[in-house]
């Protein structure tokens, strides 16, 4: 069968010397498992798993927060339509993650952290770029005056007469596509990045966003989900510990 889709990629593989799994790998596995078990045991002896008041549909804690790994998503909820924040964005993220190996198809760069000398500066830049954008947008939505005590980009647009969908769907979509797209363009121009290197930048954008949004959601959102300093977050009212 003739290969008409693409040429065979030429690579140099360098697996190096091989050693027996017993004892070299199994000993590392045993030690690793024991260390982690020990750490988990110590933590379980010292720190109690939380248990709050019996569930009560009449009393809503304020703020009412999702488990920490969903707090990034909950943060997004504050800035756009719930269907976008809670369903479309996470769905798209999973699909795009799964699609990575079908976009970056070259074998070169496997087995090496950051794949090339450009990989590390690109990752660092992507992290900084993403964090600056994310923090700016979060701060804008929190403090940009939009008349009558309201704040944020969406309310401001509504004040100017735009329909709500513009601020809650269209503008967030524009930002969420513009930021990674512009990142890819900058990385391509500045470092003459290939597909793998652009992919590194985009994954770093995803990772940095996840980390920043989760940190903000955990440590900086307090009563009524206002942005506060971590020491001001305090305990949600209506949530007693046992």
């Amino acid at each position: 069968m003739a290969r008409t889709i693409e040429e065979e990629e030429r690579v140099i593989e360098d697996p190096g010397e091989r050693v027996h799994v017993w004892p070299h790998l199994v000993s590392i596995e045993l030690v690793g498992a024991l260390i982690y078990l020990l750490a988990l045991t110590v933590m379980s002896i010292l720190i109690k798993a939380p248990l709050t008041d019996l569930a009560n549909g009449e009393v809503t804690p304020n703020p009412s927060k999702a488990p920490w790994y969903f707090l990034g998503l909950q943060e997004l909820l504050l800035h756009m339509h719930p269907a976008l924040a809670g369903v479309i964005v996470p769905g798209a993220v999973l699909v795009l993650l799964a699609a990575i190996p079908y976009i970056d198809r070259s074998r070169a760069g496997t087995g090496i952290w950051f794949s090339s000398p450009k990989g590390i500066p690109i990752t660092k830049f992507a992290f900084v770029y993403t964090t600056v954008w994310n923090l700016s947008l979060i701060l804008l939505d929190e403090y940009l005056p939009a008349g009558e005590g309201a704040h944020g980009i969406g309310p401001l647009l509504e004040l100017y007469g735009f329909p709500p969908a513009v601020g809650s769907v269209f503008v967030p979509l524009v930002f969420m596509t513009f930021i990674p797209w512009s990142l890819a363009v900058i990385v391509k121009r500045r470092w003459n990045a290939n597909t793998r290197e652009i992919m590194i930048a985009l994954y770093s954008f995803f990772l940095a966003s996840f980390i920043v949004l989760t940190i903000i959601g955990t440590a900086f959102r307090g009563h009524s989900m206002h942005l506060v300093w971590p020491w001001e977050v305090g305990h949600p009212e209506g949530l007693l510990m046992h």
């Binding site: 030429r10 690579v11 140099i12 593989e13 360098d14 697996p15 190096g16 010397e17 091989r18 050693v19 027996h20 799994v21 017993w22 004892p23 790998l25 199994v26 590392i28 596995e29 690793g32 982690y36 045991t41 379980s44 720190i47 109690k48 798993a49 939380p50 248990l51 008041d53 019996l54 569930a55 009560n56 549909g57 009393v59 809503t60 009412s64 920490w68 790994y69 969903f70 998503l73 909950q74 909820l77 719930p82 269907a83 809670g86 369903v87 799964a98 990575i100 190996p101 970056d104 198809r105 074998r107 070169a108 760069g109 496997t110 090496i112 952290w113 794949s115 990989g119 209506g238 046992h242």
Partner: protein
Amino acid sequence: MGLREKITNNRFFKSIYREGYPDTDRKRVMVVINSLALHLHPVRVAKKSLKVTYTWGLGGLSIWMFVMLTITGVFLMFYYIPSVKDAWWSIISLDTDVYFGQFMRNMHRWAAHSMVILVFLHMTRVFYTGSYKPPREFNWVLGVVLLTVTFLLSFTGYLLPWDQLAYWAITVGTNMGGATPIIGKQVQIALLGGFQIGQATLIRWYTLHVIFLPLTLIVLVSMHFWRVRKDGNISTPVYPAPPEEEATLAPAAARAKEPTGEEGADEGDESGS
């Protein structure tokens, strides 16, 4: 050593451990091939892939956490009652009356959080080392599905204590599900087992958490491990060939450097079949 001889040199011991302690190269090969647990591994691995700072053992730690969660989880199942009337009280009882109850519950909670973090770090490691590239593409897809199952396992477990933290966290989550375009109402009813959080929700999420999602995870993880072996074990460096040069494959050269003796037993692990 008299005692060691007595223990190891009898019919009973030899019926379990056929070859004895692996202190020769041949026995090191046989112990991996003959063992149910160990034959997950190849007989030999690239030395580069053993470096802790290459993989940080994140995949292994993730599955180790799943094992810990299963063991502590089964313990918890002896005491937990999935009824809105009794769930919270059964946990109070577990924490105060049951020997090691609080300890087991703590282990379960912290192992659960650990597992979410570890699988996320594992995905990040695999990404930054390019270990999703051909021939490992499908395994990466399996990994993304496993990430989703891990989040779901954690989320379904979060509801079970039936305390304020659980109840309202799940309210936030199911409201997000209800915001799904077009089929949102149906999604929310499927998640809740009705129109609001109640007994149906608890039983549904309990069943998902203790049997359906763990079985799903076990099936997918088995495929995931299988693919790791088939796709060439832990990845090792692959460099782009400089232009106008023939691609050279190192394995032939590497084989020439290996110690003699094991080529016969070794053949099985090299090929993709």
